[in-house]
Symmetry: C2
Subunit: 401 residues, 2 copies
């Protein structure tokens, strides 16, 4: 009996020990608790202090509005995963993630995924990592191929839930055309991104249905340069990639996403990155009236028809600004010449008219971006048209093969 | 006796169970095994296939040489931690990491650190994450302040172990001046990086003792713009920061580090990033003969004295290139006009003379960077000199306070 009593006591202790080990192994990753309101308080325990400081610095008028926004990221690879992490750390309201691929060791030369996630779907692995980083973000994952009939249906329905911006981070032409189709149908503003197959250049592009060129109007330079995607899919051949180029492109993409959503600075219509020379070309592309995408042509018509209303609104805004400038001049010590953009200006690619004034005695080594957009003008050049025809021939050949 | 026998059996099973739980909790993060040689084989299990593809694409002559290089990163914050992760994923030989800070929740708005690492030193947390990502990289961590007398001693001795490049990712003027002192003394090439207090601009800069301006010759624009660092250290006030800006600066920094080490493309002497307008100013700065740093002045003398030898080497190289061009012309289909840089050109800021040729019919919207460096010339402008004097006054005031 004595032995049994001892056994009972020991058994109890062992159970306690086992459950302690079990629970400690389960909670080995302590999550931070959710935060109800974003606070600007400067304490080490506040994950949002450095973001809320953007308001005090005069960059963003109302940072906490980021919680109201939903962003869809299509393609959770080298660019998309980093874009998702940046938006998660910025405290975006809701992220929708789309990918059908799984994590492989061959992905480890880009940021974000870890070797212990090999074999997981990219969306599951992303949700695991992102929810640990910031539990305040609502994450929706779609592990599916948007280029299938069923996948396209789920994709377009998910966007109808109310998405403020779609970020395209896919690595092929077909998926870009599917995103383009969905966004043209839904009048959905989106941003496209891409990295070249030799890993040393990339681009981002803003697409507003009816207002800017759509992806079918004018594919970006990286696609237009004529690399045949099929060459990349041969056995034993793969594209090069670098975490640097993909990190830069993701950073430029999400920075423009933040400028668009939180209404500061100027959203770039197109920005290239040539890393061999650290050269960053910019341009603007108007829609092509002969675009092969019917929804794009419809959006162009709507945009033309709404021109009188837009002109009237623009005129009223300028008049209001002129009178407000007379009433309250800009601070003379506003060194960075930052001005807050009016809400009614949402979606415009030239949202803020900030000029770049340097401290006395310093000069810009390059002319300002404004100077170039004056010179360049917004129409597509004949040279690009020629190239598009050549591209169209290549695509037709690709589709018929 | 029966009870005791049962107890013995059960105890054995319990011990087995406990050790199984213990070992499973220890190995919950499966590491990838080390890789002896970098392979270009295109299989999902090869973590280096997309990097070795840079050779097949004609970008890098010998990618595997990256394993021979050691890079020191000072400051493992928003820029330094991402730079360390990029180099780790690229398979750098050895990384030396310096920081004296600990991880806080207030750091979670930048990439890299996780909430479960709060309270760890930044160097320990970085080693934990990086060794899981790539066990092939040799990691050395220095959790200490390089601006103390003892810290400086350890810092300078660690650099003497054979470091190919130092990356400065610190957030204050004092630490930059300490790195500058050490690198001037050791004839150590380094790259400086910085992000503005309003989080929307940044820069990188290449510093070659004696050849380019050192940090004491001409502080970068971000420092020169005159923000008093003391204003950032007041109770309840902190600088703003964004994962986007820091990710872009880290990407540009490590890309230039890779170009420098693996000898491809052109290493930028100075590259700025103004995110409000997506504007990227470049410039070159020659050393200041009146520099207050004695070691810099010594390096300038050495550089002047070695001019005849450099000129002779440059002449011989041009002659060799001319004869090789006659013997083997460049491929006509070398669309990106990539040329491999000769080994003897190591460290030169204008390593490769690649011109930027676009496909027929396409035009650059901005003049090439070359055009600007012709216009600008390599000397520091009078305007910057004026500004430096003002800065010197501010620094003197700061030091005397």
């Amino acid at each position: 009996m004595a032995a049994l009593t001892d056994f009972g006591l020991i058994w109890g202790k062992i159970q306690e020990l086992v459950s302690r080990i079990m629970s400690s192994s389960k909670t080995s990753i302590p999550r931070r608790s959710k935060v109800k309101d974003m606070s600007a308080e400067v304490v080490d325990s506040n994950p949002y202090s450095r973001l809320m400081a953007l308001q005090r610095m005069g960059i963003v008028e109302n940072y906490e509005r980021i919680r109201d926004y939903s962003v869809a990221i299509v393609g959770i690879g080298g660019v998309g995963s980093v874009a998702a992490e940046m938006l998660t750390r910025c405290g975006i309201g809701r992220l929708l993630l789309y990918d059908y691929d799984t994590v492989e060791l061959a992905n480890m030369n880009r940021l974000f995924f870890r070797p212990d996630q090999v074999g997981m779907t990219k969306t599951d692995a992303a949700v695991q990592t992102l929810s640990e980083i910031n539990p305040d973000v609502v994450l929706e994952s779609y592990s599916m191929n948007i280029t299938t009939v069923k996948g396209f249906d789920v994709f377009i329905n998910s966007l109808k839930s109310g998405v403020d911006l779609v970020l395209s981070c896919v690595d092929n032409y077909e998926a870009r055309m599917v995103i383009n189709q969905a966004c043209n149908e839904l009048r959905q503003t989106w941003m496209e991104s891409g990295v070249s197959e030799d890993a040393v250049s990339g681009h981002i592009q803003l697409l507003i249905p009816g207002e800017t060129a759509c992806f079918a109007c004018a594919p970006p330079l990286v696609v237009a340069s004529g690399v045949d995607e099929r060459t990349l899919k041969r056995e034993g051949v793969c594209a090069a990639s670098l975490p640097t180029t993909m990190g830069v492109v993701a950073g430029l993409l999400v920075q423009n996403c933040l400028k668009y959503l939180l209404k500061f600075g100027q959203v770039s219509p197109y920005l290239g990155y040539n890393s061999l020379k650290d050269y960053f070309p910019t341009m603007e592309m108007k829609p092509n009236p002969q675009c092969s995408n019917a929804a794009c042509v419809d959006r162009q018509k709507e945009y033309m028809e709404s021109k009188p209303a837009r002109d009237a609104a623009a005129k009223a805004k300028i008049e209001a600004e002129v009178s407000s400038v007379i009433e309250e001049p800009l601070h003379l010590d506003n060194e960075w010449n930052i001005s807050i953009v009016d809400d009614s200006d949402a979606g415009s690619s030239t949202a803020a008219n900030t000029s770049s004034i340097l401290p006395e005695g310093l000069v810009h080594e390059l002319p300002t971006a404004d100077k170039y957009s004056e010179q360049v003008g917004p129409t597509v050049t004949d040279g690009i048209d020629d190239d598009l025809e050549e591209l169209q021939r290549q695509l037709d050949a690709l589709n018929s093969s």
